[in-house]
Amino acid sequence: MSRLVTRRELINLLGATGGTAAVLQAGSVLGLLPATASAAALDLLALGSTNKKVAILGGGISGLTVAYELNKRGYDCTVLEASHRCGGRIFTVRHGDLIDEIGNRQYCEFDDDPHMYFNAGAARIPTSHRSLLAYCKELGVELEVFIGENNNAFLQDDALASGKPLRVNDYKTNMRGFLSEMLAKSMSEQQMDEPFTETEAENLLSVIRSFGDLSEGDLYQGSSRNGYASGGYLTHGVQKDMLAFRDLLQSSMGRIALSAYEGDYGPCLLQPVGGMDKIIAGFLSKIGGQVKYRAIVAGIQVRNDGVEIAYDQGGARHKLQADYCFNCIPTHLAVGLDHNFPIDYIKAMKYVRRGEAYKAAFQAKERFWEKEGIYGGITRMNNSSREIWYPPHGIHKDKGVVLAAYDFGGGSYFTKMVQQERVETHLQDGEKIHSNYRDMVEKPITIAWHRMNHMLGCAARWRQSFSGWTHEEEQMYNILQAPAGGRHYVIGDQMSMNSAWMESAILSAHWAMQDLDVRVRSEIAK
């Protein structure tokens, strides 16, 4: 039998870490927000009569940001996009769309309705991502709230409650209650009077009590926060039974229930009305005429006086001469081009690993989740499909598109499967949450980013270790961020320390353009 943690041991543990006391004096720094909290205005020189040609390789959001900003300043920009669409991993799938996964091409068969779409890549915008939001405003991209955290969604783990799905609210309310009871009891000990003043100790205790909804004597005895078993409106509410603390500890899902919605994933999140690619459409409304589609880059030669690009389009090889080049082609594809990059630059490009994220979606014949009181939000499962997302848009309409799986990577579990195996797995996983799932869903689509044509990977992975960046990794990052020959810039979320976010891609483009601006100003001043 496993041993109980005594109150004394808990106090000792708190003391041993020294954590709380160490940060007590640190209040003054709490007012600071991460650097990305403000959208720095780009201070770039408008060229006037000077002519500068810019080649932009890849029509992802970083490439389009460069085209949009430099076009405003009088640069002559050309975007070469290898596929039939811009946006890269900003990919909204609708009726009739091609999902160009090599070896598993699909056409989306969803109903042709404005709310029947699936954001297969980027799918939520944190409100701290100010540069992206500034573009949404500037480009007239209408936004609405995206719901991530939803207490009425489910948690499911075969090790928890015999595999029965629990409402997030039931799990969370009980877990918070138990945690608070342990903390409150430890607070009443004299040893904990230090280092707090009486007022501080009182306030802290009141936070702990309200965090867990404790009753008299600092006991957790259940709560109405997770709703009533019955009544509550015209009659008195009957409190739900408490869950057993030990039962909750049979699963690691609590980690997700209590902390999955922090940082960039926390409220408030936003999404464009009608699909994430409305952002791409916003950029294209300004510079769409400068994009060449199905233009596959074959070579990049950086010269002293410019950059020479070779690309294939319409069965022929073409050349594009430019003064500068901004390249958001994934580094693992760029190394396979006919290039003359410096050796250490190539070494860095080869080092970055490909992300393996995978998503799938179904069309739902009915919005069955709404009948269970779920409006938007995410169900979390301890199985390979991992998540089910309920669309926050199209509420109370007949149908909706539900995310059936989001595997962030590690082993390409679904990527290796054929379509039928992928879909069957999602049906089996979803049935554990909604017993009618299999009957309710149809028209599946799957997107294995590791195999998507012209991308072959999701977000770039620089770090080999979860513990952080090594010195060598930072060195390679810096080498790749600096322009090759002063003329070729690698951009995109791959050129950031926080890949997978649109904000990172935009900021990488801003960094590169600021660097370019310094060079152009000094050249013009000569």
């Binding site: 091609l98 598993n104 760029a334 396979g336 006919d338 054929v418």
Partner: protein
């Protein structure tokens, strides 16, 4: 401001509306008559260069080998073997698994088209990334030469592809895969089974490095 043209007495507004209504009906008819799939984004199976690099030069970033200069008979056999699951189905053959799923839907005519496309690419010298003991490698290569040719030029009659000019990192990966039995162990892969036996003589990573570095010298000839 000039009158709209239907007010100039030559043609009435109603007639214009009827005319456009009839015109739009014709358009709707025309679209409805088409197969829906004709309106969809078209594609073909010429997607090799996404992984294998521009002009099939090979891409270390994807661990996808050089195709330019590859013999048409070998390319055909490999694509057919991948398509049939004779290659690329062992759970440890990471790169092979990726290729297998990409080949599985290729039609015979797609394979023919790909082979002629690959034939249009000029071979460019591959980069040297593996350096070992070339003279020890030369000794080891004597056995290889009996099938793959003294200069690594390959031998169609024996079903042995050319080795010279191939990406050295790819050769090293495949030799390891053969030694481990991750490639070539399918019951219908008789040539692969032969390679599994032959590759055992290399014994370890040093053997692989040495023989590949010798093959690199053949590529430079």
């Amino acid at each position: 401001m000039p009158d709209p043209f239907w007010r100039n007495g030559m043609i009435g507004k109603r007639e214009v509306i009827v005319f456009f209504a009839a015109l739009s009906f014709c358009f709707i008819k025309a679209y409805a008559a088409e197969n829906l799939s004709d309106l969809r984004e078209p594609y073909n199976d010429r997607y090799c260069t996404t992984c294998h690099g521009s002009d099939g030069r090979g891409n270390y970033g994807i661990k996808a080998p050089r195709l330019a200069g590859m013999e048409p008979w070998y390319l055909k056999r490999q694509l057919e073997n991948f398509r049939a699951g004779i290659r690329g189905t062992h759970s440890s053959d990471r790169e092979g698994i990726a290729m297998q799923s990409m080949a599985v839907k290729l039609s015979d005519s797609s394979i023919t088209d790909i082979i002629s496309w690959v034939g249009s690419w000029d071979y460019v010298a591959t980069e040297i990334t593996i350096e070992g003991n070339e003279s020890l490698g030369q000794q080891l290569y004597i056995q290889c030469a009996s099938c793959h040719g003294a200069n690594g030029e390959g031998n169609e009659a024996l079903g042995a592809p050319a080795l010279r000019g191939q990406n050295d990192w790819y050769l090293a990966t495949q030799l390891r895969n053969f030694i481990e039995g991750w490639r070539g162990s399918h019951p219908q892969d008789s040539l692969g089974q032969q390679m599994i036996l032959m590759a055992q003589s290399l014994q370890n990573d040093d053997g692989i490095k040495n023989v590949v570095s010798y093959i690199n010298t053949l590529s430079r000839k």
